[in-house]
């Protein structure tokens, strides 16, 4: 068969399968991310239907997916919001970081994977999936709740932490020496700071450059700019993802809203490709031995997120039921965790890291929203047992 024919047959089959899985996820009421991962496992090395020709395209598409995921995430926030959140929620944000990075770090150290893998695993257990959490909040009608601003602020804090964490991880994974590593990290932090300052002070100029009444022009300009900065960031070892994230932050207001609406369909396509790609790289046979480990890790990090939510909500003066809800909303893990694991796998971390991260995210991306749904009546009962204040 002709090369192009095989390429299209494979890609068409994969994408159509993702569409069907997405429909299934929608019906069951869970995030499609775990199903995309499963699809990747099925198509990949050691899977039931290995792909041969399209793997190169999928690899590039996956890189693009990461950039688009981070770009659209950045577009959701503006620099002011990030700064306000950083100032008012620093204590809760730090508790979140320490409590939730700990399970991953400790697990990696206990397994003897070394400090670099420990930093990567810390990231895998730390980040809540802002995408899945936003959907949970919306689906359960929790957006108006008084603990929701607390949850959202924590997500913003996590994303900002990522902007610093990803460059550091990239530098560590590159296996650089202590001195040049420190230099790389310093460059990374300086770049992030400069871009944030530029976004705060000169966001108007960037917006003036990008803005266009024509949606086609706007789309091309935003994607072009994001890729250019991502490439530049990668060259400086800041991580391409962070570059795209910062471009998203620099754009705000009506423009950001329009750009996000335009980017969403493209993002959905390439983000799905990214999750498949991660699955492709993971041998399903290797997941089974680490499944019990992933389950323990998932359980421990559910408890630590519940504690984080309770702590943050308590600081904001939220009642008992609200504190539990805040914790539940924070449980889902998803895109970021896979992005981190993907970086580590690409850099040749411990061979078990990929399968462990995949199983871990499979559990929490699927179980997080379900947990929220199932515990909602229990939380309501918690309220009833407390006497009303008036």
């Amino acid at each position: 068969m002709h090369h192009t024919a095989i390429l299209f047959l494979e890609l068409g089959g994969v994408i159509l399968a993702l569409g069907i899985l997405g429909a299934l996820a929608l019906r069951v009421g869970i995030s499609p991310i775990p199903l995309y991962l499963v699809a990747g496992l099925a198509f990949g090395t050691g899977g039931i239907l290995p792909l041969a020709t399209s793997e190169e395209f999928i690899a590039t598409g996956a890189e693009l997916g990461v950039i688009l995921l981070l770009l659209t995430l950045g577009l959701e926030y503006n620099a002011d919001e990030l700064m306000t959140s950083l100032k008012s929620n620093a204590p809760s944000g730090l508790v979140d970081l320490v409590l939730n990075a700990a399970p991953g770090v400790i697990a990696a150290l206990l397994l003897g994977w070394g400090p670099v893998a420990a930093v990567a695993m810390g990231g895998v257990t730390y980040a809540t999936s802002s995408g899945i959490t936003a959907k949970v909040l919306s689906d359960l009608g929790w957006i108006g709740n008084r603990e929701t601003p607390v949850v959202l602020s924590l997500l913003v804090f996590e994303d900002l932490t990522m902007a610093l964490y990803l460059p550091i991880l990239t530098a560590l994974l590159a296996g650089v020496s202590l001195l040049s590593g420190a230099i790389t990290v310093a460059i990374a932090l300086a770049t992030v700071t400069v871009v944030l300052v530029v976004a705060l002070k000169f966001g108007d100029w960037i917006e003036k450059f990008v803005a266009s009444p024509n949606s086609e022009v706007l789309l091309l300009k935003v994607i072009g700019l994001a890729m250019l900065v991502a490439g530049l960031a990668q060259q400086l070892q800041v991580s391409a993802a962070v570059g795209a994230f910062l471009v998203g932050i620099a754009l705000s207001g009506e423009l950001a809203h329009d750009a996000r609406a335009l980017l969403m369909p493209i993002r959905d396509l390439f983000a799905a490709v990214f999750f498949v790609f991660f699955g492709l790289q993971t041998d399903p046979a290797k997941i089974v031995p680490v499944l019990w480990l992933a389950a323990i890790l998932a359980f421990v990090s559910m408890v630590t997120k519940l504690a984080t939510g309770a702590f943050a909500a308590r600081r904001a003066g939220i009642g008992r039921a609200g504190r539990v809800r805040a914790g539940i909303a924070l449980i889902p893990r998803g895109e970021f965790n896979i992005v981190i694991a993907g970086l580590a796998v690409a850099a040749g971390a411990h061979p078990d890291l990929g399968p462990l991260a995949a199983a871990y995210v499979l559990i929490l991306a699927a179980f997080g929203p379900l947990a929220a749904r199932l515990t909602a009546p229990l939380v309501a009962a918690l309220t009833k047992s407390t006497p009303a204040p008036h």
């Binding site: 959701e76 926030y77 919001e81 306000t84 959140s85 802002s130 936003a134 009608g141 929790w142 957006i143 108006g144 709740n145 008084r146 603990e147 929701t148 601003p149 959202l152 602020s153 997500l155 913003v156 809203h257 939220i318 009642g319 039921a321 609200g322 809800r325 309501a380 309220t383 009833k384 407390t386 009303a388 204040p389 008036h390």
Partner: protein
């Protein structure tokens, strides 16, 4: 009434307040233009027990329903006030006890509540006369008040 405003990063803004009966209600304004009308639970004041999603059109309709009668009410009240306000011109006759006495002696505002805004003498208008202004027969006193107290002023100027 205090309206509390909270930023919802990535979503939009939330405004909420407590009604006089102790219920807490709010509006979530999404960046996309979507509006959610939320009502908080009595037992769990942190939880929105009702969340009604409104389109632009529905939100406008709600505003109109809630706001329009109030505006009409206020306009009516304002109109009534203007309507009830009368200005009358009362002559000082030669038989008036105040011919040759001062405005201060008549103590018009104290006794009736109406105000003397001007006195017309011949073709001269004395606007905002002071208490030491002396009346003369043939003056026309311009009084602003309601129907009742302006009539009382006419009585005072005629009979004391």
């Amino acid at each position: 009434m205090e309206i509390e405003q909270t930023a919802l990063p990535g979503i939009g803004l939330k405004h909420e307040f407590t009604t006089h009966t102790g219920r807490r209600i709010g509006i979530v304004s999404h960046r996309s233009g979507r509006r959610d009308l939320i009502i908080y639970d009595r037992d769990d004041p942190d939880r929105a027990c009702e969340s009604v999603q409104l389109t632009d059109e529905e939100a406008d309709a709600l505003v109109e329903l809630l706001g329009a009668p109030r505006i009409v009410q206020r306009l009516n009240a304002l109109h009534r006030e203007v309507e009830g306000l009368v200005s009358v011109q009362i002559p000082v006759t030669p038989s008036s006890p105040y011919d040759g006495r001062t405005l201060g002696d008549a103590r018009i505002r104290t006794r009736t509540g109406a105000s003397v805004v001007a006195v017309v003498r011949g073709d001269q208008v004395h606007a905002s006369p002071t208490p030491d202004f002396g009346f003369r027969a043939g003056d026309v006193v311009v009084v602003v008040g309601d129907a009742e107290n302006t009539a009382a002023v006419a009585d005072i100027l005629a009979d004391g």
